[in-house]
């Protein structure tokens, strides 16, 4: 010391850095000492500290204790998973959603082994239990609760239950593909715009604002109708990939913008500066320092975007701009059934109920996931 001032060292306790073997067993470092009054070396171990307490490098010193489980940290995701496991409501609706997915995936099995009729097979003259599936005025039959025509028929005499499962499969596939598109590109765009700012941001942000400024349904109907007529390149107009692609692109800004904001906040954090001072490559900073901190936001968005995508698909299909005939989806089934709302209300209500149940269970599961990831967060997410 250049000055003759007393040092801050607490003499009775030895060096602040003297890591005594007794402490290692408690799994704590020196800062916790004052609270452990009985273990404070200044009382219990008067000889242990001392002036020579400059810590020796620990090379060569045998480990004081076998490594216990307490020394392995519990990560934020494991903590979140533990919290989610305690949320029974979320778990229940998660199970409901998984059940819906399994049933829809098994649609071909049901079609082949139970109903014995394909999803797109028209059978206007067919009968079930002696009754015609279509009345003379063309009104389809309601639920029969038998293997054939379990939920009744549609206006062309097709088995509604089979079409419901196939339609669910279509809706879930479109929702899933759209969600993948949203997550991948939304994250990418948000990361790039937020991290590089400047020119990259000046290009990406207006693009996102442009899409954002249209109401999703109107944009979807406009683009969906155009593409359903022409198709894109090798993809035909009636492919289910077209609505999936449209929905994905429409919702990219809905994830991209929050991610961009998150990245703008994170890039000012000191640990990013620390990485920069270490000479880390910008791409690596983005992927290994910033992205892991934005992951919980992304995870929260996954169920939300899935539910929103399935809903938008239903809107578009209902309006005729989504899934094209003869493919079924919940949206097209509701649209088909709406004509018979007074005569055979189950035709429209059953697919509607399936849609509601699916979206509801995803949303409740999503809420649980969000609460688990950030228990202190206020309700703030909006679509």
């Amino acid at each position: 010391m250049a000055l003759g001032v007393p040092r801050f060292r607490r003499n009775g306790q030895g060096s602040s850095t003297g890591d005594l073997p007794t402490q290692t067993t408690q799994g704590s470092s020196t800062e916790d000492l004052p609270t452990q009054t009985t273990q404070d070396p200044s009382f219990a171990l008067p000889e242990a500290g001392g002036v020579a307490a400059r810590p020796e490098p620990l090379v060569g010193r045998p480990p004081a204790e076998p490594e216990g489980p307490s020394t392995v940290g519990v990560g934020p995701y494991r903590l979140a998973f533990r919290r989610l496991r305690r949320n029974k409501t979320a778990l229940f609706f998660g199970a409901v959603f998984i059940a819906i997915v399994i049933v829809c995936v098994l649609a071909p099995v049901y079609s082949h082994d139970v109903a014995h009729i394909g999803p797109n097979v028209t059978n206007p003259t067919g009968t079930v239990n002696g009754k015609s599936v279509l009345s003379t005025s063309g009104v389809p039959i309601g639920p029969t609760f038998t293997a054939h025509y379990f939920f009744g028929a549609d206006s062309d005499g097709r088995d509604l239950a089979v079409r419901l499962l196939y339609g669910g499969r279509t809706s879930l596939i479109i929702g899933g593909i759209a969600t993948i598109i949203i997550i991948v590109f939304g994250t990418l765009v948000g990361l790039l715009a937020g991290y590089f700012r400047g020119v990259v941001d000046a290009v990406l942000r207006p693009l996102m604002e442009l899409i954002w400024s249209f109401p999703p349904v109107i944009l979807g109907v406009a683009v969906g109708t155009a593409l359903a007529l022409g198709g894109i390149g090798p993809i035909k107009g009636n492919s289910i990939f077209i609505p999936a692609f449209i929905i994905g692109v429409i919702y990219i800004p809905y994830l991209g913008k929050p991610i961009r904001g998150e990245v703008l906040r994170l890039r000012e954090m000191d640990f990013v500066d620390a990485a920069r001072v270490q000479g880390m490559h910008p791409w690596r900073i983005m992927l290994s320092e910033i992205l892991p901190n934005a992951t919980s936001t992304i995870i929260v968005f996954i169920p939300m975007m899935l539910a929103t995508s399935i809903l938008l698909e239903a809107y578009l299909s209902f309006l005729g701009a989504g899934v094209q005939a003869p493919n079924a989806s919940w949206g097209t089934l509701i649209s088909d059934g709406i004509t018979y709302l007074d005569t055979t209300p189950s035709f429209a209500l059953i697919p509607g109920a399936m849609l509601v149940l699916t979206v509801l269970s995803i949303n409740i599961l999503g809420d649980g996931v969000r609460d688990a990831l950030d228990p202190r967060a206020q309700v703030k997410i909006q679509t």
Partner: protein, 403 residues
């Protein structure tokens, strides 16, 4: 508290004093020459217009010698952290030159800075935001080693454990996450990360400001020990003088982006020349209330002026109790007083008339400052010398280096 132990402490103290007296005799390790960093202030909806600049660091020069601890103090917002970030090239100055061991690093790219970053590291103020919450301690401390190809004798993990032990943490905690540590422990992790690449220089950006007072002492003692063991040079930034006085060999006082006083640590406390330094010293609480009440204090009221539009002349004149007309018009250069004590003031305090008469203009003075010394003499102002031609800062520093 045995007597024996106290005696040992005194011996250690003496050894330290001896080591310290040798410090600062080497060549300058880091030189900052007339460094200036202006942040543009932008306004506009679609097209940003620059409507002004924040004068964060305005023409600051400093030289750090091998093994030395240079303290930098000043109020919040005076530019000390920005200056520090310029030194390790986290920020690129808008003007001026930064040299590391004689190499101009002012405008080097990331790849070219790699060897510099191995030697110069940074410790941050906020122990919460300086550690990535998604990474385990082992990754946080080990990543810089991997980036720079530093391998311990028994691999990276072993060296991480060794470092953790060295900074007073339990090496077994290598797999824990930052949220499982207290503030002081996190700051130790930050220190371990800085040490990971075996640096020669560590810039400490308010390393203890966010900590509890008792923990502050522990961390400062740790830093002190590490300096002796590894032969580190420190740039130690703090916003109060009581913290830096214990560690610094020299102290620079900054006000609104300018260095107003630069002096060996002891000198600064015994005879502060600049009124602002006096005010800062007056802000240090004295534990004895009677003594505290009895002393005469220079009290500076108000807030620092807006750094977008700093006052003309001496930047401190708006709050200075000694300010006169000259202070509003002419920016004072850093004048040299005996003992390597520099101060930029037209009305120096605690100096004899003789010292004022003999004072000369320091080459560390801002280029825009006039040549008007406190003794009324006008000396010629040298032209900007940013290419290092004509001896550069190092040669000129020799003249002002304290004996």
């Amino acid at each position: 508290m045995s007597e024996e132990r106290n005696q040992g402490a005194a011996e250690t103290q003496e050894l330290r004093e001896a080591a310290r007296s040798l410090a600062g005799t080497g060549k300058p390790m880091l030189e900052a020459e007339h460094v200036q960093l202006y942040f543009p202030v932008k306004k506009g909806i679609l097209v940003d217009r620059t409507i002004g600049h924040v004068h964060a660091v305005d023409d600051c020069s400093i030289a750090l010698r091998e093994g030395e601890t240079l303290g930098i103090v000043g109020e919040s917002g005076c530019g000390k952290s920005t200056f520090a970030r310029c030194m390790v090239r986290l920020l690129e100055p808008t003007a001026g030159v930064i040299r590391f061991r004689g190499t101009d690093i002012t405008h080097l790219g990331r790849r070219k800075l790699e060897p510099i970053h191995r030697e110069a590291q940074l410790v941050f103020q906020d122990p919460v935001s300086s550690l990535n919450p998604r990474k385990r301690v082992g990754q946080i401390v080990g990543t810089p080693m991997k980036l720079h190809g530093v391998k311990g004798q028994n691999g990276v993990e072993d060296r991480v454990r060794e470092l953790l032990g060295r900074v007073g943490l339990n090496p077994e905690h290598i797999n824990r996450f930052p949220h499982e540590f207290s503030g002081g422990q996190r700051q130790r992790i930050g220190v371990a990360r800085a040490l990971a690449v075996d640096p020669r220089l560590i810039v400490l950006d308010e390393p203890v400001s966010a900590l509890d007072v008792s923990i502050q002492a522990q961390v400062i003692n740790l830093l002190d020990d590490l300096q002796d063991d590894f032969g580190l040079s420190y740039v130690f930034i703090a916003h109060d003088l009581s913290v830096v006085r214990h560690v610094s060999d020299r102290i620079g006082v900054m006000y609104l982006g300018k260095i107003v006083e630069l002096s060996p640590a002891k000198e600064l406390y015994t005879k502060p020349i600049h009124p602002y330094t006096q005010a800062l010293l007056g802000a240090i609480p004295i534990p004895d209330p009677e003594e505290n009440r009895a002393r005469e204090r220079v009290v500076v009221g108000g807030e620092p002026p807006n750094p977008v539009d700093p006052p003309t002349g001496c930047r401190f004149h708006t709050r200075c109790p000694h300010a006169t007309d000259i202070c509003k018009q002419v920016e004072p250069p850093l004048a040299e007083y005996p003992g390597g004590h520099l101060a930029a003031c037209h009305h120096p305090q605690n100096v004899t008339e003789e010292e004022v008469t003999n004072a000369g203009r320091s080459p560390l003075s801002p280029l825009v400052a006039g040549g008007l010394l406190p003794n009324g003499k006008e000396v010629p102002v040298p032209q900007a010398d940013t290419n290092g031609a004509g001896g550069g800062l190092a040669a000129r520093l020799k003249r002002i280096a304290p004996g």
